[in-house]
Amino acid sequence: MSEMTDWVPLRWPSQWQDPALLRLLEQTPINCLVIAGQHSNLKPLIERARARGLALAAPEVEAQGGLPAIPWTTRAKVSWTASAPVLAISENLWPGIPAPSGGGADAGPTGVPWVDSNGWFIQLARTRAPSKTFWLAYDPPPKAQFLRAESYLLAAADAETYGARWVISMDGRLRAGLVAKDTQAVETWKKLATALSFFKARRQWNQFRPLNVMAVISDFAGPNEEVSHELLNLAARRPLPIRILEKSRAVKATFEGLKAIVYPDQQPPATELQKKLLAFARNGGLLIAGPKWPGPEGAPAPGDAYERFQVRSVGKGRLATSKEDLLDPYLLVMDSHLLLSHRHDLLHFFNAGSTNSYYTASPDGKKALVQIVNYSMRPAGHPISFTTQERYRAARMWTFESAAPVPLEVQAAGGGSDVHLPPVGVYAAIELEK
């Protein structure tokens, strides 16, 4: 049996009592069955699964009958310091573009479609408990009329892109279709298996470090939870990649590569962190904080035209303190991006309004990776392209649909590179080489 951290979990449907259904797991990377609730009637199935070397687990709160228990909590109750190597988290979003009751797509405050994604939360979770493997549980929306195969691919990609596992969960139609060997259901299942295999074969990407120039330092809890969490969610949509730093560890954290730090918490930081943040600003960084920042130093910066912030020159850098409490995460992320300037954007995307992205670099720094998750699940009218601030000499694109990567056209653009993508369905990973 593989290590728990390598498990690819499937929430086994309670209706599936026939051990013969384990055939569905053949030629898939799924190696763990999550059995929830009463399972006395699943005994033959469980025995057959064990005999096949499949791992079995149960949500901790429901663990019965000797199955290994996985800590399984809501986002708000995660014990980040738990000893278990795997933490499962519930109350997540089924990824996609939510359709409002009136039809069409909701326009978010960013002017692009609103998307439901768990990406920002996974990044936060991996920051708070770096040694853990996270499973995210989310079920198909109960009111969905018909889920296309792409919806399942998106469900997998939304977790795997950011280094987590999705606890695979099927809607009634897919469950019934697989039992009946319905062609369309089997095709959906094969596509999902291909996507899961794709990610499993590339677990090393999870060791890549996120590329960013702005950090958010917070305790991400209590009275600061709402603003700090939504700040991360909205930053992902701009896209403004964020380095997440937990306040309790920020004093020992490196600020290398950062150009700006946002401190959104209501309470001023402890003296030691305050000193470190001010040193960051004096050395040329931009520090953005709330109105309770203690005794802001420095002279008002020339050309301070920022409506909601007072900007002061501090050494070689700037300190921007808001004039009012930082209660609106939308305004905060917009202002923070503006204070920093788009000049420092690491990537500019084009025709990518329904996508989120994750930009990382290999440990040796020789390769970069841009993963794109398309929440509309279909190619845009015009193809996606992006411009990198850094120059790359070659690019190739991986998708679920192709066993081999596709070489991409890369053009010099200023000091960086312009990368042209063919149509992107649900997911694409672009490897960039210096």
Binding site: G111, S341, H342, D345, F350, N351, A352, H382, H420
Partner: protein
């Protein structure tokens, strides 16, 4: 479609008085020049064109000049892989060349105006997202500044521009102060078709001068919002009245093809354009931006300039392969009224090529059919 227009509305656009104004609408020369690239030939070509118009000095020396740019749509849009400046936007080198020549002619100060899509961000930040370097524009001449005119901006209050004769749609329009705080107003447009108005040239470019804090979908009912939200639905579909304004005829058609050309004609009558420059070196056919289905790149390699926006747009329309005397139902105005005809009827300028002196390259030599 036309049957929905009442006699009163018909008269408001084509009445006998208006017809009289059209016949006597002023004319002015238009200069046309071939220019294949945005390279070394651009600056001397533009300079020669301005000389053919009688020189910029007499217009701008010692003056504050405001230039309305065309940076339509979000900076994250591309037609295929083409940068915005080779499709839906002005090219930064066209802007820089114009700035250089205005400064050379003695302009005291130059403001670059645009109302970027649904944001109060500085224009400099907006164009950075399209990979432009604002310093290349700001350094093209002394005393150049950008202003985002989609909201109050640096002004303390909006400037009100009354439409002579009362206007088709509104008696007056409130704009950012920069449209008033200038001695010379330039419309630097792109040679394009338009999904709503048939063509978008120097006149339609001014539609983007209207602040969405007042004329936007997210504007409050009675007074402007602080920041712009969304597009100009109240103009397009008449789904609501702008903040603090009521249109002349609240029962007028709720069709964009009726409303938008009239708003544009109103605007250019209320805020006259002193210099129209239409850039058609690299552009797009089939619509004004990548969001229009079926658009394609086109390289007319042409520049057009004139001191009258209607005559300049008429010549540009002809160069695109259309008849500037055409109206609703005829290309490029299949589903809209002609802004050219409406502006002409307000006495802004003539669209009749027989009354327009074309200098430089003749229309037939510059002709690039936008439709096959």
């Amino acid at each position: 479609m036309q049957s929905q227009i009442t006699r009163r509305q018909w008269l408001s656009g084509l009445g006998a008085a208006a017809a009289g104004l059209a016949a006597s609408a002023p004319t002015a020369p238009v200069v046309v020049a071939k220019c294949k690239t945005y390279g070394a030939e651009l600056l001397p070509t533009l300079e020669r064109m301005f000389d053919q118009l009688g020189g910029l000095g007499r217009l701008v020396k010692g003056k504050t000049v405001a230039i309305k740019l065309n940076l339509t749509g979000a900076p994250t849009y591309r037609m295929g892989y083409r940068p915005a400046e080779l499709a839906q936007w002005n090219h930064p080198r066209s802007i820089a060349a114009t700035l250089h020549l205005l400064a050379k002619a003695g302009a005291h100060r130059i403001r670059l105006l645009e109302s970027p899509w649904s944001t109060a961000e500085p224009v400099e930040e907006y164009i950075l997202c399209a990979n432009w370097d604002p310093s290349e524009i700001l350094n093209a001449a002394p005393r150049v500044e950008f202003e985002n005119t989609n909201y109050l901006g640096r002004g303390k209050k909006y400037s009100r521009f009354a439409v002579p004769g009362g206007g088709y749609m509104f008696k007056a329009y409130d704009l950012n102060h920069s449209y008033e705080d200038c001695d010379v107003f330039v419309s630097l447009a792109k040679l394009k078709e338009h999904g709503t108005t048939g063509v978008t040239l120097s006149m339609k470019n001014c539609f983007g001068s209207t602040p969405c804090t007042i004329y936007g979908d997210g504007a409050p009912k009675d007074e402007p919002s602080r920041f712009p939200i969304g597009g100009r639905g109240p103009f397009h579909s008449g789904n609501r009245q702008p903040a603090g304004f009521t249109e002349n005829d609240p029962k007028s058609p709720r069709q964009a093809g009726y409303r938008v050309p009239r708003v544009v004609a109103d605007l250019v009558a209320a805020r006259p354009i002193h210099l129209a420059i239409i850039e058609g070196i690299e552009t797009m056919a089939g619509g004004e931006g990548p969001w229009i289905r079926g658009v394609r790149p086109i390289s007319p390699g042409v520049l057009i300039a004139g001191a009258n926006c209607v005559t300049a747009d008429a010549v540009a329309t002809a160069i695109m392969g259309f008849d500037p005397m055409a109206d609703r139902g005829t290309p490029p105005f299949e589903r809209c009224d002609s802004t050219l005809r409406l502006a002409e009827a307000l006495g802004v300028g003539t669209r009749d090529l027989k009354r327009i002196e074309v200098r430089g390259t003749p229309i037939r030599e510059a002709l690039v059919k936008f439709r096959a």
